[in-house]
């Protein structure tokens, strides 16, 4: 289909990239299912280790769904709420994929899932305050939602891009969200655009999903939102590629989209923000794609925060002998090595695979695929050789810092060379050297 996409698809794009087999057939058709909390939850009490929070509960406390477990102690922190009703049996440490060990509250669910009393009247607090108090975080870039909005406001970015591209294989949570609640997404986009004072709002959608595109167009009718479709060439979902495709602005190496006056918000953040802002519902669940060839019931699940990967695997039925578990997409995610890793608010996908890679590397065969497919135009084969020889010069620094870690070079390499890992290593090497200033 890629040839047809190239001929008939939209013209906007970037050099390089690749159409990947998407493996979304099952996950994108099943409605989002809420996973019940049955086993004890290990709810992380802070979004990140360095964001200080006051722990509001003690061992033995009874909590209800939405009860505040931890409140903000620093300006950048977000509050944490109980995903279900039950009893706090312990305050412990939990392993998270992105942040390592953080404090957690072990919550024994009582099965009744009673909600805490909701506030009936609107307070006069600002949107940012509201998002922070409701624990809204953004998965990419991984930071608290109000901090993300503050940095956008401070940078003066005037173009707001809503990123609903999701071009990585297997992932379907954004697509399901678009199918199931398009109106709320558009409403929240308008709220955020108002708050940020954006001049132009672009809603980026995959061109292939025409029904979704029509639905979003209908919802956005009469609002100042450009609904733009893009081809699903990976890594179109990356903010830097979105700025290139939609605005034709090239982010300088090592920079972010804010440097070129664009702000990119992930759809998961819009969804969580809508829940918090319109329904006064704190973030208690993460919408997670659970898929991969080892999963018996793949799909998009609304998973209580604090669920361990082990109990998630039991719930969806992971085949015995699965060799790989990944938090995030198959090309950019983090491999999990512990089955007591917990689902946090920034988890977007948990993938289980039967096999790991078995081929061992051979010398570069100079196929040139990594060079042609690289979305930012660096030469991974050359950088790999330089990394082996430890012979960097300053002129390679631009290429190194331009890399967006999309993983395509390793993905396509027929010699099974760890190209993207090597580039990542040299970037940390060269970035610290005095010439890098």
């Amino acid at each position: 289909m890629s040839v047809l996409e190239d001929l008939l698809g939209p013209r906007r794009g970037f050099d390089g990239g690749l159409f990947l087999p998407d493996f979304k057939a099952v996950t994108s058709r099943r409605p989002i299912e809420t996973m019940p909390a049955t086993s004890p939850l290990r709810v992380p009490l802070t979004a990140r280790g360095d964001l200080a929070t006051h722990i509001e509960v003690r061992r033995g406390d009874e909590v209800r769904r939405g009860t505040t477990l931890a409140s903000r102690a620093a300006a950048e922190a977000v509050a944490v709420h109980a995903p279900t009703s039950g009893r706090i049996v312990d305050i412990d440490r939990a392993w998270t994929a992105a942040g390592g060990f953080v404090d957690c509250a072990v919550l024994e669910p009582d099965g009744r899932n009673e909600a805490a009393a909701r506030r009936t009247s609107w307070s006069s607090e600002s949107l940012l305050q509201h998002l922070a108090d409701h624990g809204v975080v953004s998965p990419s870039p991984t930071c608290p939602g109000h901090v993300l909005l503050q940095s956008i406001g401070a940078s003066g970015a005037s173009d707001l891009i809503i990123n609903a591209m999701e071009t990585e294989p297997y992932l379907a949570s954004d697509l399901r969200t678009l199918v199931e609640q398009p109106g709320r997404l558009i409403d929240m986009t308008c709220e955020l655009a108002d708050a940020l004072g954006a001049h132009r709002v672009i809603f980026a959608l995959p061109h292939r999903h025409q029904r979704v595109v029509r639905r979003i167009r209908a919802e956005a009718y009469g609002r100042l939102i450009d609904v733009v479709t893009l081809s699903e060439r990976y890594p179109q979902c990356h903010p830097i590629m979105l700025a290139k495709s939609l605005l034709d602005r090239e982010v300088p190496p090592g920079g972010t989209v804010l440097d070129v006056g664009a702000a990119v918000l992930p759809l998961a953040f819009i969804r969580a923000g809508a829940d918090a802002w319109f329904d006064d519902r704190p973030v208690t669940h993460a919408v997670v794609t659970v898929s991969g060839d080892a999963v018996a019931r793949p799909g998009v699940y609304r998973v209580p925060i604090g669920t361990t990967v082990r109990s998630l695997a039991e719930y969806v039925g992971v085949a015995e002998g699965a060799q790989k578990a990944v938090s995030g997409g198959p090309l950019t995610g983090i491999a999990l090595h512990r089955d007591d890793t917990v689902v946090t608010a920034v988890t977007t996908a948990i993938l289980f695979f039967q096999t790991d890679r078995v081929e061992s590397p051979v010398p570069c065969v100079r196929c040139g695929w990594c060079v042609e497919d690289c979305p930012v135009g660096v030469d991974p084969a050359e950088l790999f050789q330089l990394e082996a020889q430890q012979s960097f010069e300053v002129r390679h620094r631009l290429g190194l810092s331009a890399c967006i870690d999309c993983g395509l070079c390793s993905h396509v390499c027929p010699a099974a060379l760890p190209l993207s890992a090597a580039i990542w290593r040299c970037r940390s090497l060269v970035g610290d050297s005095p010439e890098a200033s």
């Binding site: 970037f14 050099d15 294989p169 830097i240 290139k244 090239e250 982010v251 300088p252 190496p253 920079g255 082990r310 109990s311 695997a313 992971v318 085949a319 015995e320 699965a322 060799q323 790989k324 578990a325 990944v326 198959p330 090309l331 950019t332 995610g333 983090i334 491999a335 999990l336 512990r338 089955d339 007591d340 695979f353 790991d356 051979v362 010398p363 065969v365 100079r366 196929c367 040139g368 060079v371 042609e372 690289c374 930012v376 135009g377 660096v378 030469d379 631009l398 290429g399 331009a402 993983g407 390793s410 993905h411 390499c413 027929p414 010699a415 099974a416 760890p418 993207s420 890992a421 990542w424």
Partner: protein
């Protein structure tokens, strides 16, 4: 909570992203190339008989043996397995004629692997396509059995009803001006093969002005008396190397590789297009004119027939050009990395092939051109860097 019965703690592999891969491996690429080359090899065995199969077998076995011996002498296993040796041996055999003695493919394959591949650092590091290096070395070493000197003017191809099983040595000379084409040809009862001049050699003689004109007609007597019918050159029923003649099989093999994504379509297209352009434009010497040249032969028109087009067409289907374009020039290790670099690379090969064929003295012009252009691959690669996103490329 008790531990899960399904997943053992710590059984998952931790590794850096990405976690899923495209599925193309070096071994799979080489197998696809070997499959494509064996399509051509099967065609060669049909046209030239069991003798061709023997040449292929000797070549492949020698290549495997040489690779094994080199690996043993260095005390390490063969990097990437024997797929590359098999492919190199097979490609070398495809460029050799079936009538050759057994020691020619033996020496050629050994030179390919030991000098062409191992001496340059093995897989992924060689500069020249190893099969072609072996081919030109045996061309020089065994000049007498491979050159078409005056003592050996015509080469055999099996006749009708004698395909596969016939013997090439029972040949009967055919007179091309009375030759009705392979399908309708009549050969003697005891003969298995037809002998005729090599088309690429005839084209070279024609370009040198050594084929006499006939009442101011130059192209028409040449095509009639010195070349087999065009459909025979497409199917491969003309003398030549084992894999060189079967244009149709070569194109099928090339399309298969392009479909698999292991050969960029730009490379053969650029090579054939520039070869056609060069053949259409470059001048040829007019016979008995004392060194006058005829430019733009493609526009030649005699008795209302577009004989110039026929001349260009024979240039494309004869010699090693098609085999070079689809199977030999596209070796990943000895070609530029980027698609547009490969276009330049292939265009130079195509033009140089025709140039050497028209004015040069070397046999197998296409293979020499590929080897020459292989040396320019690093330079082409340096000139073909992609601009990095966010940085304005330097003006040339």
């Amino acid at each position: 909570m008790s531990t899960s019965p399904q997943i053992a703690t710590g059984a998952w592999c931790a590794a850096a992203a990405p976690h899923r891969f495209g599925g193309a491996t070096h071994d799979r690429i080489l197998r696809a190339w070997t499959f494509g080359a064996s399509i051509v090899a099967v065609g060669g065995i049909v046209f030239f008989g069991i003798a061709a199969a023997k040449v292929i077998a000797v070549s492949i076995l020698t290549a495997i043996g040489a690779d094994w011996i080199v690996a043993q002498s260095r005390g390490r296993p063969v990097i990437g397995g024997f797929s590359h040796a098999v492919l190199t041996g097979l490609l070398l055999a495809l460029t050799l004629p079936a009538t050759i003695a057994w020691y020619v493919p033996f020496v050629g394959a050994a030179v390919s692997i030991v000098i062409g591949k191992a001496l340059f650092g093995g897989l992924g590091h060689y500069l020249w396509q190893p099969a072609l290096l072996g081919r030109v070395v045996v061309q020089i070493v065994f000049l007498n059995s491979l050159t078409l000197g005056p003592q050996n003017p015509s080469w055999p191809v099996l006749g009708p009803k004698h395909l596969v099983t016939g013997s090439l040595s029972n040949g009967d000379e055919v007179e091309l001006h009375r030759y009705p084409g392979w399908f309708r040809s009549q050969i003697g009862v005891t003969d298995d093969a037809l002998k005729m001049p090599l088309p690429s050699q005839s084209l070279r003689r024609f370009a040198d002005g050594r084929i006499p004109a006939e009442n101011s007609l130059r192209y028409e007597p040449f095509v009639r008396d010195w070349l087999p019918p065009w459909e025979d050159t497409v199917i491969g029923l003309v003398p030549g190397g084992i894999g060189e003649t079967g244009t149709l099989a070569i194109i099928v093999a090339g399309l298969y590789l392009i479909y698999r994504g292991y050969l960029r379509w730009q490379l053969p297209v650029a090579m054939i297009a520039t070869a056609a352009l060069a053949a259409a434009l470059l001048p040829i010497q007019i016979a008995d004119s004392g060194g006058q040249y005829d430019w733009f032969p493609v526009f030649a028109d005699e008795n209302g027939r577009a004989v110039g087009l026929a001349y260009v067409f024979y240039h494309l289907t004869s010699g090693g050009l098609m085999l070079g374009a689809f199977l030999l020039a596209g070796d990943m290790i000895a070609t530029p990395m980027r698609g547009r670099g490969q276009v330049i690379f292939a265009a130079c090969i195509g033009a140089m092939t025709i140039f050497l064929r028209l004015y040069g003295v070397l046999a197998c012009a296409c293979y020499w051109s590929i080897l020459v252009m292989n040396m320019f691959v690093p330079a082409i690669d340096r000139g073909m860097k992609r601009p990095i996103l966010g940085i304005e490329p330097e003006a040339p």
